[in-house]
């Protein structure tokens, strides 16, 4: 059957060639292959180089998703994220765009942009939703591709669109240095701080800072930087000033600068500046100068006083030469022998401020200090400020200090010797004072004072007290009346007259003695004795049994013989001589009238006296005695009683103190003799004349009896005054009682007070005085009551 099969024409068989029989459909896979090849070639051709960026932390980086951006334009994409061999770093492979690849040289910097909210603003907000991206920066000069890069933790200070000069700022305190802190100049941001780091020795915090162009020309080597964060309130003589630069710097901190002196060199990158805490410190630093080596010393203070802090001043003669670097405690029983905590502080001393050569090495500077220490230089703690209460370290020269040297083996720094601190805790003293004031029972005191015043007011308001001034006034007026009365006024005169009279009386006595002599009393006495002797002889003859009487009489006679009559006579003679001399003087003769008159008066008086003359009386007595003796003689016989009586008489005669009489007479004569001896002076006659005249007047008044009247009147006045005083004095006890009561109350009140306080003591003393005054008043009243005349006599 196959022969029946018609031949099927095989089209195209006649044009067989290389592709003979190939269907056109083959073009499709060929085109597909070509397309694929072309796409692959194209892709390979467009692919940029791969760079590897090393991160510490690749948070948020996703392969094929996280972009690399430059000026916020994607120029690459992360292809791979992997670890390095020891897992310590993250390696991120980034496929760069071919166009930027030549610029990504070794200078390029990469960092991850994350959303950040800081005090100075919000950045990277768009990455919150889209995820982080890697930002890169490089300069505009192609420098050849570098395939390995180290990423930064944060954006570098210098980027392609923020150019400037990078310097280093350092500070001893981290307060002002924080990342991204703006550097302001006249309120305009001209720079920014980088991430601060702590220096290796822990002394400084330093941070790189960029000063943008063209503001970096404002900074020279003489520029000082200071911290303007926060605000400062200063109160000075010119008033209070509140200073803060901007609200932003108030929150985020800020640093500003000023070129305070001229002559600095232009800024260059890498210079190190210190950030001062405030503008004043920055200005001060210009003059202090910070060059010179820093010598660190260790001080160990026995006193464990609080108040010394880091950064406290170290001063020498008032000049700040350094600062306290740190303060800590030390307990070392092996070294100090006890386990007390001692204050160990490290101080830094700037040798330039000590006035020594700044180029000295550290050990040479210590040598210098050691010499001073040998001379007595010591460190001690003193109060930095009475109000603030801080402490500072002061170097003083104490020549009396025990010798010491710097211990160079001290740990951690050479040990500098110290001396006793001079720290007075003002606050504590003030507190003690205030506590004591607080402890005073002020309220009770006031209560008692009020009660006392109430009582005093009641007392003062009482009728008795109100009457007292009137009565005292009356008393005083009475006393004034008494004193002012003519009689009292005349009293001195009267007394003078009286004295004159007494003088005259002594003259009279003198005359009396003369009369005694004239009357020959001795003779009469002798005669009487003779008579007695006769009587005795008679009695002896009559009465042999009366030896006692004889003995007594003998004794009597002996006593009489023993009388110093010779001396008496001698005195009298002397007296007479003196009188004679006196009388023979011309002055006496010159005033014969007065003398005559006085003598007339005297003679008158003496006559009066003579009329009742003792001499006569004596002679009469002697006569009587002689008569009695005669009578005895007569009645001797058989009358023993007579003998007894005679005996008694003799005893009485014996008792007559003739010794005393004679002695007194002698004394009177001596006095008179002296008187006349004195009277030989030139002024005697006048006085004598005056005395005589006075005596005359006195005698005249005496005669007239005026004195008596005056005395009587005076006495009656005094009696009246006394009566008035007595009346007043009757009231005084009541007053005194009231005062006593008040004082008792006051005393009782005050006794409750603290005895130690000065106030109480004063008050008690005052009250005691008042009490004494009251007692004196009582005594006065009592005395006046008992003795009214003491008002006049003044006793």
């Amino acid at each position: 059957m196959s022969s029946d099969i018609p031949d099927i024409p095989q089209t195209g068989q006649d044009r067989r060639g290389l592709f003979a029989g190939a269907h056109w459909v083959w073009l499709v896979p060929i085109a597909a292959v070509l397309t694929a090849v072309w796409v692959a070639l194209q892709a390979y051709n467009d692919q940029g180089p791969l760079v590897q960026i090393v991160f510490d932390d690749a948070a948020g980086i996703l392969p094929n998703e996280t972009e690399l951006r430059f000026r916020n334009v994607a120029v690459g994409i992360v292809e791979d994220v992997q670890f390095n061999d020891d897992l310590s770093r993250v390696l991120v492979d980034v496929r760069l765009d071919k166009t930027v690849a030549p610029f990504v040289d070794a200078e390029a910097a990469f960092w991850i942009v994350r959303p950040q909210v800081t005090t100075s603003g919000v950045s990277g907000l768009e990455t919150v939703l889209s995820g982080v991206y890697i930002e890169g920066t490089w300069d505009t000069v192609p420098g050849g591709l570098a395939s390995l890069h180290e990423a930064n933790d944060r954006a570098p200070l210098i980027t392609t669109f923020k150019r400037g000069t990078v310097i280093e700022l350092r500070s001893t305190r981290a307060a002002g240095l924080s990342a991204n802190t703006p550097i302001l100049f006249k309120g305009i941001e001209v720079g920014r701080l980088g991430e601060p780091t702590i220096s290796v020795n822990g002394q400084w915090v330093s941070a790189p800072a960029i000063l943008y162009e063209p503001h970096d020309q404002l900074v020279t080597t003489a520029t000082r930087f200071w911290d303007t964060s926060g605000f400062s309130l200063s109160v000075g003589p010119s008033g209070a000033s509140l200073d803060f630069s901007s609200v932003a710097s108030l929150i985020s901190g800020g640093i500003t600068f000023g070129t305070l002196v001229s002559g600095g060199e232009p800024l260059r990158a890498g210079l190190v500046y210190e950030v001062h805490p405030n503008e004043a410190a920055a200005r001060n630093s210009v003059f202090e100068g910070s060059s010179g080596a820093v010598v660190r010393l260790t001080l160990i203070f026995d006193d464990n006083v609080s108040g010394l802090t880091a950064d406290a001043a170290v001063e020498w003669r008032g000049l700040r030469i350094g600062r306290v670097a740190n303060v800590s405690g030390i307990v070392d029983p092996d070294r100090f022998g006890d386990s007390r905590v001692r204050l160990l502080s490290t101080v830094e001393i700037n040798t330039a401020r000590l006035g020594i050569d700044a180029n000295l090495s550290r050990s040479e500077a210590i040598d210098f200090l050691d010499e001073r220490v040998v001379e007595g230089l010591r460190a001690r703690l003193v109060n930095a400020s009475l109000l603030a209460g801080g402490l500072k370290v002061e170097l003083i020269t104490d020549p009396d200090a025990p010798s010491a040297t710097i211990n160079r083996e001290g740990d951690p720094f050479p040990l500098f010797p110290v001396t006793d601190s001079e720290v007075s805790d003002v606050a504590l003293s003030a507190e003690g004072v205030l506590e004591r004031v607080n402890a005073l029972p002020v309220e009770e005191l006031l209560d008692s004072a009020i009660r006392f015043l109430d009582n005093a007011a009641a007392l003062v308001a009482s009728d008795e007290i109100r009457e007292t001034p009137g009565e005292i006034l009356g008393l005083l007026s009475d006393a004034r009346g008494v004193i002012g009365s003519d009689e009292v006024q005349a009293l001195p005169e009267d007394l003078r007259v009286l004295m004159t009279d007494l003088q005259a009386a002594s003259a009279d006595v003198r005359g009396l003695l003369a009369d005694v002599r004239d009357a020959q009393a001795v003779d009469r006495l002798l005669a009487a004795v003779d008579q007695v002797g006769l009587a005795a002889a008679s009695a002896e003859t009559a009465l042999d049994d009366l030896p006692d009487l004889t003995e007594r009489i003998a004794t009597f006679i002996d006593g009489a013989n023993a009388l110093p009559l010779d001396a008496l006579i001698t005195q009298a003679t002397d007296f007479a001589r003196e009188a004679q001399i006196l009388l023979s003087s011309d002055d006496i003769r010159a005033a014969p009238g007065a003398v005559v008159q006085a003598f007339d008066e005297l003679s008158g008086v003496l006559n009066d006296i003579t009329e009742a003359n003792t001499a006569d009386q004596l002679s009469a007595a002697l006569t009587d005695a002689s008569a009695a003796a005669t009578a005895v003689e007569e009645a001797v016989a058989g009358l023993p009683s007579v003998v007894e009586r005679l005996d008694r008489i003799a005893a009485g005669a014996e008792e007559v103190e003739l010794d005393t009489l004679a002695t007194e007479l002698e004394a009177v004569l001596a006095t008179a003799s002296r008187l006349f001896g004195d009277a030989s002076d030139a002024d005697l006659p006048d006085a004598l004349a005056g005395a005589l005249a006075e005596a005359e007047a006195a005698l005249a008044e005496l005669r007239a009896g005026g004195l008596i009247d005056s005395a009587n009147a005076t006495m009656s006045s005094a009696r009246e005054a006394a009566a008035a005083i007595e009346t007043a004095a009757d009231e005084l006890p009541a007053l005194a009682n009231r005062l006593n009561t008040t004082l008792a109350q006051a005393q009782g009140t005050l006794r409750g007070y603290e005895e130690g306080s000065a106030f109480s003591r004063e008050t008690l003393r005052a009250l005691n005085e008042i009490e004494r005054a009251a007692k004196a008043l009582t005594d006065l009243a009592r005395t006046i009551q008992r003795n009214p005349n003491s008002l006049i006599l003044g006793r």
Binding site: S2, I8, Q10, G21, H23, V25, V28, A32, E126
Partner: protein
């Protein structure tokens, strides 16, 4: 004893199924060119097949969809997207996607290649089963476009401007091309060639 049209000197129009004598070059009914056997069938099959394979490679390597939400852009290839869905627990959908986008196209590639090789060199499968396979490939080929439809619908629906948008990836295009190429490849296979093997088997059997 199987009798073919060719044995009887006839040729059938593949369009209108009118049978003509073998000397007719064109169908007098519909004007279609008549050919007892398409001698270039296998050429075209392989050409389309290769083009389909070429297109299928980027369809799986490149992202099918680019989904951009507010700040996030995600690009997913077919398999990654299916695995992603499976990871989220949507195993059914993941299975559908995997079957429609991976299993079926790959199955079609294998099926077509098997048939083409079987036509040329013979196979263990009887020609009847080969023809059933051919029918399945023919029928199912169009459903492979379901991925492309999903992408097209999503992209046209989810265009929320800034907030979110979905754009077709390059894989969508190549995947569509791959489907087209495999359909054309399947279509290019002249099923009558399958029966020719029966003839030869029959002729062999008596021998």
């Amino acid at each position: 004893m199987t009798v073919t049209a060719r044995d009887k000197g006839l040729v059938a129009c593949r369009e209108c199924a009118r049978v003509w004598p073998a000397d007719h070059t064109h169908c007098e009914v519909c004007g279609n060119a008549l050919q007892s056997r398409d001698t270039q069938s296998l050429q075209k099959v392989w050409a389309w097949w290769i083009a389909g394979i070429i297109a299928y490679i980027p369809a799986n390597l490149y992202p099918m969809l680019t989904t951009r939400t507010l700040f996030h852009t995600s690009e997913d290839t077919i398999i990654a997207g299916a695995l992603d869905l499976a990871a989220h627990g949507a195993f059914g959908i993941a299975a559908i996607i995997l079957i429609a986008s991976v299993v079926i196209p790959l199955g079609k590639f294998f099926a077509i290649a098997y048939l083409a090789l079987a036509v040329r060199r013979g196979a263990r499968w009887p020609p009847g089963r080969q023809y059933i396979l051919y029918e399945v490939v023919e029928y199912i080929g169009r459903w492979s476009m379901i991925d492309v439809f999903v992408v097209a619908i999503l992209c046209s629906l989810v265009q929320l401007n800034v907030a979110a948008s979905i754009t077709p990836g390059i894989a969508a295009l190549t995947f569509a091309l791959s489907v087209i190429f495999t359909m054309l490849s399947a279509q290019s296979l002249d099923p009558r060639l399958i029966w020719d093997r029966i003839e030869t088997q029959d002729t062999k059997d008596p021998a």
